[in-house]
């Protein structure tokens, strides 16, 4: 970085909270010679007081998943023209409010898509082939004392219903095709140029699927979209995998279905009340859980840091953003 005098000329980027992996292995990942951070979380002032005092002329902001950006925050940022997120999902932003104020958004683009798709496929294979359950079984010494573990279920020929065929959903589809699965999907509208069968209604997709994989964003429309009717349509041999957001599923209903054997299993990276996962699931062998870590590989975090810096540098140089988010 430059000398203190030169630094003061650099444009500021507001940072309300420390993003995950701001440092990896001790090294700061978001450094640039073209901007400096205004770190609200390092101040002793309460957040809104800090913003009122120090953020009047800030034009750009870096928001991670935990940083809610709504009208109550934006009122202190009259000059804000860009929000860069470290996330692919944007449910922490009040998008209509940002649009109203002419604020552009750049998100994590495709950086995480492979990792999240890998996690979805890994969870599905784990549930169908009982990998975590078998690993637990062997590591407790039960193979020698109790015999073979119950059989799993084959992947080839399984009908996969992808809920939300965005970047992540598409990558999930491509992977599962290689395992001989057939793909169908539900999305806000049918995607041109996509040959997979499209279902306007999630319930109909569920009725025709052996496994539902949730890859959609969390919005007003998708909250609790996977409800009692959808789970009933999925049925007692059906599996659900969620790498989207906990709020897309009516979690209480899903837990009840799992406890009563009304669906066959679940692979879940996200929950309604993280970091609390429903305690009823802790005893079930047909459920595989992970602590919202589908994006948390070293490689992805290094890639997202590079992308964030690239977006901010482009903004301050009046160049096109690398991963501008457009509503469709």
């Amino acid at each position: 970085m430059g000398s203190p005098a030169a630094d003061e000329d650099l444009p500021q980027v507001l940072l309300i909270r420390n993003p995950p992996a701001f440092t990896i292995d001790g090294e700061e990942q978001f450094t640039s010679a073209k901007f400096r951070f205004l770190k609200a979380f390092e101040s002793t002032l309460p957040p809104h007081d800090f913003l009122a005092a120090r953020a009047q002329s800030v034009r750009a902001m870096l928001a991670s998943g935990g940083a809610v950006v709504d009208a109550s925050v934006l009122q202190f940022l009259p000059e804000l023209r860009l929000i860069v997120t470290t996330t692919a999902g944007l449910n922490q932003l009040d998008l209509p409010e940002c649009r109203r104020r002419g604020i552009r958004i750049a998100n994590a683009g495709d950086v995480y898509s492979a990792d999240v798709a890998d996690c979805a496929v890994g969870l599905l294979i784990d549930v169908l082939r009982k990998i975590s359950a078998c690993n637990r079984y062997v590591k407790q010494g039960f193979w020698a004392s109790k015999g073979d573990y119950p059989l799993g279920s084959k992947l080839r020929g399984k009908r996969i219903g992808i809920v939300g065929l965005g970047r992540i959903g598409y990558q999930v589809a491509k992977r599962l095709e290689a395992f001989g699965c057939s793909i169908a999907y539900n999305s806000r509208k049918a995607k041109p140029g996509v040959s997979y069968p499209f279902y306007q209604e999630v319930q109909e997709l569920a009725a025709k699927s052996d496994a539902l994989i949730l890859c959609c964003g969390l919005t007003e429309q998708t909250r609790h979209m996977i409800n009692k009717e959808v789970l009933a349509a999925l049925g007692k041999d059906g599996v659900i995998v969620n790498i989207a957001r906990g709020g897309v599923i009516d979690e209480k209903e899903m837990v009840r279905c799992l406890m009563e054997g009304e669906i066959a299993g679940a692979g879940l990276d996200v929950f309604e009340n993280e970091p609390d996962a429903p305690k009823e699931l802790m005893e079930l062998d047909n459920v595989v859980m992970s602590p919202h870590c589908a994006v948390f590989t070293r490689e992805s975090l290094l890639d997202v840091a590079r992308l964030v810096v690239g977006n901010l540098e482009a903004f301050f140089s009046n160049e096109p953003l690398l991963s501008e988010y457009e509503d469709d």
């Binding site: 890994g122 690993n135 193979w143 073979d148 279920s153 395992f179 490689e299």
Partner: protein
């Protein structure tokens, strides 16, 4: 055919198979016989078929004790428990269960790769133990794009390659000879392959030549960031060397479905978070085990009806 005596040399743990055999033949289960030498001696003139699996088949000693043996039908694709040379010599037919289990074994190989690199089993444990309330789980390693090295590019090896390609994984391989028309990178030795891949998968048949094909030298070449996946046979790996490499951190991780002395698994591996252990479930789905059983029974029926065998090896 009910009077034909069939000897099952493996433990009778597959109910569908046992029922199907009992319906058609007189089935003897060697596992439940208290005095095996006495049993073999008193049944030497009646047993005309043996059904085995990955755990037990028909070795030279058994074949010598069954002079009326005509066919060995294995509930597996692996033939390492059958003395093929002796069968050939005596005109005994041998069948196995190829193709029907290729998908399941390949699926499991990929499942193990994802489970090890992304720590799926460990992060499930993290949630169940309540540790998530204390903080996030640590960073894991991306799978997509990693180089996958396959030992043995047969049916199962090719199926693994084809799946890994969907994750943008470059594929390289070692085989007895380079395969024409294959776009994957060939390495002339296993050590060379191990030195140049991130994930090494054992997918070849177990023969005297491939026993301990994963030895200290290969493990060293694979290294502290490398991961070994074994969906072949336990004896493919020098298990003692593998255990010490994992315990000492000289190997990055392992996903193992098979072991030297199943169902016994080295306990030193139980506490390692970079190791996933499975109880030989490569073909372990309801659908596939049924298809395998149908092949075993179908081969026996074909033989005794003088029809062409479905999946003959010898």
């Amino acid at each position: 055919m009910e009077s034909i005596s069939v000897l099952m040399t493996c433990p009778p743990v597959h109910p569908y198979l046992v029922e199907a055999l009992e319906k058609r033949f007189t089935l003897h289960k060697l596992d439940s016989v208290p005095d095996k030498p006495q049993f073999l001696s008193s049944h030497r003139d009646s047993i005309r078929a043996v059904v085995g699996n990955a755990a037990a088949g028909a070795d030279a000693e058994l074949i010598d004790q069954l002079p009326k043996l005509e066919i060995v039908s294995s509930y597996s694709v692996g033939l390492d428990k059958i003395d093929l040379a002796k069968c050939k010599e005596k005109g005994i037919r041998v069948t196995n269960t190829p193709d029907v289990l290729t998908d399941d074994v390949a699926d499991l190989a990929l499942g193990l790769m994802l489970a090890v690199l992304r720590r799926l089993c460990e992060s499930d444990r993290y949630v169940r133990s309540g540790l998530w309330k204390k903080g996030d789980y640590k960073l894991t390693t991306k799978f997509s794009g990693k180089t996958v090295g396959i030992i043995g590019l047969g049916r199962i090896g090719m199926a693994i390659a084809q799946r890994a390609e969907a994750f943008s994984c470059p594929i390289s391989y070692f085989s007895r000879s380079q395969k024409p028309g294959i776009n994957y990178k060939y390495h002339p030795s296993v050590v060379d392959l191990a030195a140049n891949c991130d994930i090494l998968v054992v997918a070849c048949a177990l023969t005297p030549e491939t026993r301990h094909i994963i030895n200290r030298e290969v493990i060293d070449a694979l290294g502290p960031k490398g991961v070994l996946i074994n969906i072949g046979r336990g004896p493919h790996v020098d298990e003692a060397e593998l255990v010490s490499a994992l315990v000492e951190g000289r190997l990055g991780g392992a996903g193992l479905d098979v072991f030297q002395d199943e169902p016994n698994v080295p306990e030193e591996l139980f506490k390692l978070e970079n190791v996933v252990l499975l109880p030989h479930v490569g073909s372990g789905t309801v659908e596939t085990r049924q298809a395998m059983a149908d092949l075993v029974v179908g081969n026996l029926e074909a033989h005794f009806l003088n029809k062409p065998l479905l999946t003959p090896v010898v």
